[in-house]
């Protein structure tokens, strides 16, 4: 049952189209404007029929003709054009259109979408090029396969690059949902390699294929119950047992805003002393390579290698034929 305001919104959108189209069937109107049949007939014959500016004499009331399932309207000049789009509505339509163009490729088989966006932007005083939408990873084979796998509820086999450990693994997974957190898209899935739920960053999946095995219902249900309302947990990479304390230059203080820290102290020698959780030795090593010379690790958990950065530097220099 539509509310009065929902019926009003439909009426003032429908009347201009009905006038421009020179009539339409009840069925067409109902479908196009999501107007339930009985409500539509009621609103045409018992509401619109009695509307017109003061003094409401027959010559200035809207004329509604309903004959054998067809409707015509006249004397509705003041409703002959629809209500303007709000900026929110226009912006979201432009964004969606631009995203779709990005996915299917501008200039290919979508000239109607391009011209529609042009007209829409121009009507608002903007230009369509003032909105740029880069689909990013969405415009990739990996995204397409993952999406199809979720829609068809089939399992996937993926190759995943673990950035923190610097290794690739093959996994059979049961994909459940794609979600956004901050800058990245993540795939939530049940991983058969570890027999548990895992979260994969989509841009780190380097190969994906769908296999002819259905996703098991029990995982879908327990996933829906347990995790669907929870945000992606990015802390999964860090163990509370692995921490390191670094002495860094102040020019490297960007790491404080980029990574979660346990403590940050300013030292008398104008350096910073930072204690932070560490995902792995490779993770710490990569971080140390990015920092200024003079950075030191002064404290570390037993499982963390104080020379993690130097180990990586050595491997890289080996590749360049040095360290001999």
């Amino acid at each position: 049952m539509l509310k009065a305001t929902e019926r009003l919104e439909r009426l003032i959108s429908m009347v201009p189209w009905l006038i421009a189209n020179n009539g339409a069937t009840i069925e067409e109107l109902g479908k196009r404007f999501q107007y339930p049949r009985e409500t539509l007939i009621n609103d045409l014959t018992k509401v619109l029929f009695f509307v017109g500016p003061h003094p409401h004499t027959p010559d200035n009331l809207i004329e509604v003709n309903v004959q054998e399932e067809e409707v015509w309207i006249s004397q509705a000049n003041y409703l002959s054009r629809p209500l303007n789009l709000t900026h929110t509505e226009a912006f979201s339509l432009l964004v969606k259109g631009k995203m779709l163009l990005g996915l299917i490729g501008e200039g290919t088989n979508n000239s109607s979408l391009e011209t529609a966006l042009d007209k829409l932007a121009t009507a608002l005083g903007a230009e369509k090029d003032q909105i740029i939408v880069d689909p990013g990873i969405r415009d990739s084979e990996i995204y397409e396969i993952t999406n199809e796998s979720i829609v068809t509820r089939r399992k996937m086999v993926i190759t995943y690059y673990s950035f923190n450990e610097d290794y690739y693994s093959e996994r059979k997974i049961q994909p459940l949902s794609i979600e956004i957190n901050d800058r990245y898209l993540y795939l939530r899935a049940y991983c058969e390699k570890v027999n548990d739920y895992r979260t994969f960053r989509l841009d780190r999946i380097t190969h994906a294929e769908i296999i002819n095995e259905d996703i098991e219902q029990e995982f879908l249900h327990s996933f829906d119950n347990e995790t669907s309302d929870k945000p992606i947990d990015l802390e999964f990479q860090f163990s509370e047992d692995s921490i390191a304390t670094l002495i860094i230059q102040k020019s490297d203080s960007w790491i404080v805003s980029k990574y979660s820290t346990i403590s940050v102290k300013e030292r008398k020698d104008n350096m910073l002393e930072i204690t932070l959780p560490v995902a792995s030795n490779t993770w710490l090593g990569r971080l140390l390579l990015q920092l200024e010379p003079g950075t030191r690790v002064i404290e570390n958990s037993p499982n963390i290698d104080i020379d993690a950065g130097m180990e990586l530097a050595k491997q890289i220099l080996d590749r360049y034929g040095l360290n001999d």
């Binding site: 189209w17 007209k119 990015q290 003079g294």
Partner: protein, 312 residues
């Protein structure tokens, strides 16, 4: 009851669209002739009807009328603001907009059903694409889009500094929205991440500036702009990491006959480039130019020496 309310609000809208001058509540009440006689009940109902119109996006304006000190409120709808300009959309164009609306989901945004009905009809059409875009800071984006389409200047706090900006474009990249525009104080074009904008305010004046003939959005390959000597870098990438580089570093990679990757690109910020290459660890090698290769090697050797000195 709902039918009566619908008729009343529709008549109110009709009177407002037909009025050449602002009308007071009493004038509208007399013309519509559907409100209760009781003054309190009338005020309440009239107030709810106005709210319904505003919620739908009807640009209902309130203006004072009558002699100074004894003025009443009158209501007015500017027809130029109310009516959608004639877009002259074809059925195919409308179908494509519907297709886009159904294919792409916006997080934190409203549905476009109402918008599409205004344009000529909504259809829950079938779609082959499925994508989600985040509009987490919707209020900021709406304000910026309104300013951009009306050429209004905005003021904002960004990186603890107050700035006046003439918005040129809004850009979605890497799951964030960016504003590019002319910053008056700096006298140059700059880009800002919109979720970091604070205290955003729009100026009053429409058409306060013109768009330049050409403008581009923010450049996200940080090493491609800077003040260093421009050089073309050639990077060899292990076959295992080609896909990762393409997906993470936004760099096109061609594949060699041995299956490994080669990427060539212009570098104007040497340190930024070296930091990116370091992310690849020993899975890549700078082949050219010697300038960058030597700088990369020196950086690692310097780190090694510094580490040895610290441990000595």
């Amino acid at each position: 009851m709902a039918t009566e309310k619908l008729e009343r609000i529709l008549k109110l809208l009709t009177e407002l669209l037909n009025a050449s001058t602002p009308k007071t509540a009493d004038e509208l009440r007399n013309k519509i002739n559907m409100y209760p006689d009781n003054l309190v009940a009338f005020r309440k109902q009239f107030s709810r009807d106005k709210a319904s119109l505003k919620e739908m996006g009807v640009p209902l304006e309130v203006v004072p009328v009558g002699p100074s000190g004894n003025s009443a409120e009158a209501y007015y709808v500017d027809n130029n603001k109310y009516y959608l300009p004639d877009l002259n959309l074809s059925e195919e164009e409308l179908a494509q907009l519907n297709y886009a609306a159904n294919s792409v989901h916006l997080l934190g945004a409203i549905t476009e059903e109402e918008a599409l009905r205004k344009l000529g009809g909504y259809s829950g059409s079938q779609h082959d694409y499925e994508a989600t875009v985040s509009l987490a800071n919707l209020e900021t984006l709406n304000t910026l889009f309104e300013a951009l389409s009306q050429r209004k200047q905005v003021t904002m706090i960004y990186s603890s500094k107050r700035r006046t900006v003439q918005p040129y474009l809004l850009q979605f990249k890497g799951e964030h929205w960016y504003l590019t525009g002319n910053e008056i104080e700096a006298g140059s074009t700059k880009s800002y991440r919109t979720d970091r904008i604070q205290e955003l305010q729009t100026g009053e004046n429409v058409d306060e500036y013109s768009l330049p003939r050409s403008f581009t959005g923010a450049d996200f390959n940080y090493f491609s702009y800077g003040d260093d000597v421009p050089v073309t870098a050639k990077l060899l990438i292990d076959r295992t990491h080609i896909k990762w580089v393409e997906q993470n570093l936004d760099i096109p990679v061609s594949v060699n006959s041995d299956g490994n990757g080669i990427a060539e690109f212009l570098v104007r910020n040497h340190d930024s480039f070296i930091n990116r290459v370091l992310l690849l660890l020993h899975h890549a090698e700078i082949l050219e130019p010697d300038l960058l290769r030597d700088k990369f090697i020196n950086r690692l050797q310097h780190l090694q020496k510094s580490h040895e000195d610290n441990n000595a």
